[in-house]
Amino acid sequence: MLAWTIYISFIGVLVLMLLPREAARAARIIALLTAIAGCVVAFAGAIQQSNPGEVTTIVKVPWIPSLGANYFLAADGISLVLVVLTGLAAIAGILFSWNVEKRTKEFFAFYLALIGGVYGVFLSFDVLLLFMFYELTIIPKYFLIARWGSTRKEYGAMKLALFSFVGSHLVLIGLIAAWVVARAQTGHASLDLLELSKVSFPLGFQHWVFPLVFVGFGILAGLWPFHTWAPTGHVAAPTAGSMLLAGVVMKLGAYGCLRVAMVLFPEGVRMWQGEIAALAVIGIIYGAGVALVQKDFKFVIGYSSVSHMGFVLLGLATLNTIGLSGAVLQMFSHGIIAGLLFAVVGRMVYDRTHTRDFNDLQTMQLGKLLPFAGVTFVLAGVASMGLPGFSGFVAELQVLMGAWKVFPVATILAGLGIIVGVAYILRAMQKAFYSDAPPGKFGHDHPLEPISVPERIGAVMLITASLVIGLFPGLLLNWIQPCLNSPLFERLLKGGSL
């Protein structure tokens, strides 16, 4: 059933392409319906899956038998979490791009293609298939930014595409090597993730292949120092684009790190564990520090994504159940919260004021002109700070708990990152919405368009999601934790059970 999330999205793309060019309204509605259908299927499929701890096969048919490739879609609890996230983010993104007037149908066609690719990655249990879907997402990303973006959009789009391609090539080299070694060892060709995960690759081999694949995926997860595509890409992208980039595309990278790199090369992870944790912590602090001094509102959020994804990577590096479960939950949480923050900055503020410069925003008293935007940003901001009650808290709590066990110093440093995080959110809130600076001439001669209904629905939906998971984290933990105790993760976690 879950496979239909992918098919529905691509059917939506086809329908949109058949529409006449002028039918902007129809395009929006079709896109929204497609996304809602995808989300409903995702939820229904997730609830239907009786045992989230097991990898449940959805479809498995031979694809390229000589290579051992199958068309193999399946899901376990971690996939479910991310599929549901994608469903939510997809709806929200469309609600926040209701005002796209330029080539509307093409915009939404690319958008849905991206979503379809993302669903595909999260549901693929064949390495080649996963890689195909992963590559597939690069093209719509590029066009969404290059055509509908702002602020140096060609540069941002090209940088993102190049970084993604470099990353995927690293992954590809690693996977081919793994395929060759695995065939030599077992005697038959296979690209099945479950089968590959049972192969014991030689230690020396893991030692060099693991970093290749991990970094390859990590580039997209905002792994410092390969994160530089993220701020420029996020800033250049249209609102829906940055929501998806931060919300789900960065998760693709982290998911790849966990699902492919770490599961296939457990010994490799242990060899590089300290280095990964170090990079993650640098990312947390560096991202937060840089966000603290930005002049552009959207760059603040862009760098904050790097910082928050650092928590995901730190959680992955802990190699214990609690840390990993925190990392997966953080993927979900950050997807929701970052999406909301980008929506406030890009759609609610920038589309109305046409500026993101704090010096201009400071004089506009937006807290009074757009109270809804102000409140939304405050809620999203405190959620992003990791205040209890919101999803980010439960996620970071687990990551830090797991990290205490393995890297006490890194844990304390990550705490420092949280404090800087509080500071940049406060600063942005102060400058953009509740500034005490005297009102300037800007903005008062033409009243701002009020916050529209789709925006309100989108904002309420995302805040509710974050609150529900923050107060009842068991809803997702019941999917994540059994999964981490399954045989798939046994070799990875055997050294650090908790």
């Binding site: 708990m401 844990t411 404090i419 068991g474």
Partner: protein, 513 residues
Amino acid sequence: MNLPWLTVLTLVPLFGGIVVAGLGAEQRRLARGLTLAFSLVGLTGALCLWMHFDATSGNLQFVEKHDWVPSLGIQYFLGVDGLSLLMVMLTAIVVPLSILASWRIDDRAHIYNALVLWLQAGLFGTFTALNFFHWFLFWELVLIPAFFLIKLWGGPKRGPAATQFFIYTMVGSVTLLLSFLAIRLATGSFDFIELADMAKRSEITAKLGEAIGWKSHIGLLVFFGAFLGFAVKVPLVPFHTWLPSAYAEAPSPVTMLLTGVMSKMGVYGFLRVLLPIFPEQIRLVLTPLMWLAVLTIVLSACAAFAQRDLKRILAYSSINHLGYCLLALFAVAGAAAGINQPELQKAAALNGVLLQMFNHGLTASALFLFVWLIEKRSGGLRGLEDFGGIRKVVPVFTGLMGIALFSSLGLPGLNGFVGEFLIFKGVFPLAPWAAALSTIGLLVTAIFLLTLIQRVFCGPLNARWAQMPDLTLSERALVFVPIALMFVLGIWPQFVLGVIDPTVVKMVQQLNF
């Protein structure tokens, strides 16, 4: 009757806030009326708790315990003992006073009132929750409304003051969180009561060392993390620098809440968390901690003497008064070898601490209420030198504020005296040097409070205020409540002591090992 009373108590203001916020800016009167009604429901609830509380027992009562997130050791765990009950009562009294005091705040009144109600919900939650996760949720929830109340309704320098307040508190919260994550990792529990039992068996430090390493240093590190969280909130010198500007810039009704109840969260944390869970570590660094408490008492009194703004004077005086609480608290944690009946002394000191918390909450919020009334009459002026001789034009105001000032000074017969007396009675035998040094603080307090009385009320009348109106009937009714309570508690402290004594005895026993 198996209603979850404590849950209801917390949820009433929480939902009340949502209702009030949804009213819209036009319906000011309705918003205020509803807010007051919700806070009075809270007061009624607290009174019911007080009536049904079994005062002969120091055990937790009205306990609600349900699994929340079992895999993370998170429980929904509420309960009150004498300490919690006293704090709930204080919150329930101070919040309606503050709401009545802010009756004339018109700017976005619905949001203002909603924030106050959320603050109240957070306070009720903090004082009743007994599982770290559950408790921390409310501990942080308090911060957001407080921040916005200062930021949006404060004085001219509110922006920096609010930010400083928020950042300081957040730093403390993060270190506190990290410490508790380490504890949870090591012991597998978030439950304050369970952790206290483990600490009594001296298990926590060993387990921390086992789980994380660094031998016994980790215990101390974790202790300091938690300590910082509470020390910032109380505050203890040198973590106090956020307080004077926050108190001064916040509108006075909000300052009533900040000093009346929120500062008690820190002391409450010391009593509920730090003292039972880290007795070993407190003993290790006892002398420096005692010094910090003494410094807090003496320096803040001297700083208050140097201030020229009424609100800043009272802010520093607030630090001073809570310093006594911490002094007694640390003294109680000491081993107390070679002292006659140490348990009796410790119980006296702890009773003093609890009483002082309640008294200070009452007196300090009453004082800020008086400053608010005088600000309304002077158009916002509140410098020490701005007034002079006003006792001639506003005799009732002078008399009533005088009572509150003398209560703060610790005059026998008024509430402030009993608490401080018990504290000194307990601390003198336990730590004579610290008690002796702290008396300097008492002396300086007397000096600056008397100076305040002299400059503001006595001397030649400043002609500018010749027409200052005295308290109106409604204002008299408003200040009557705290003033009456000051007398009641001053003359018959048993009223409160009877409720808290069994709890205190139990806390002292907990410390014996």
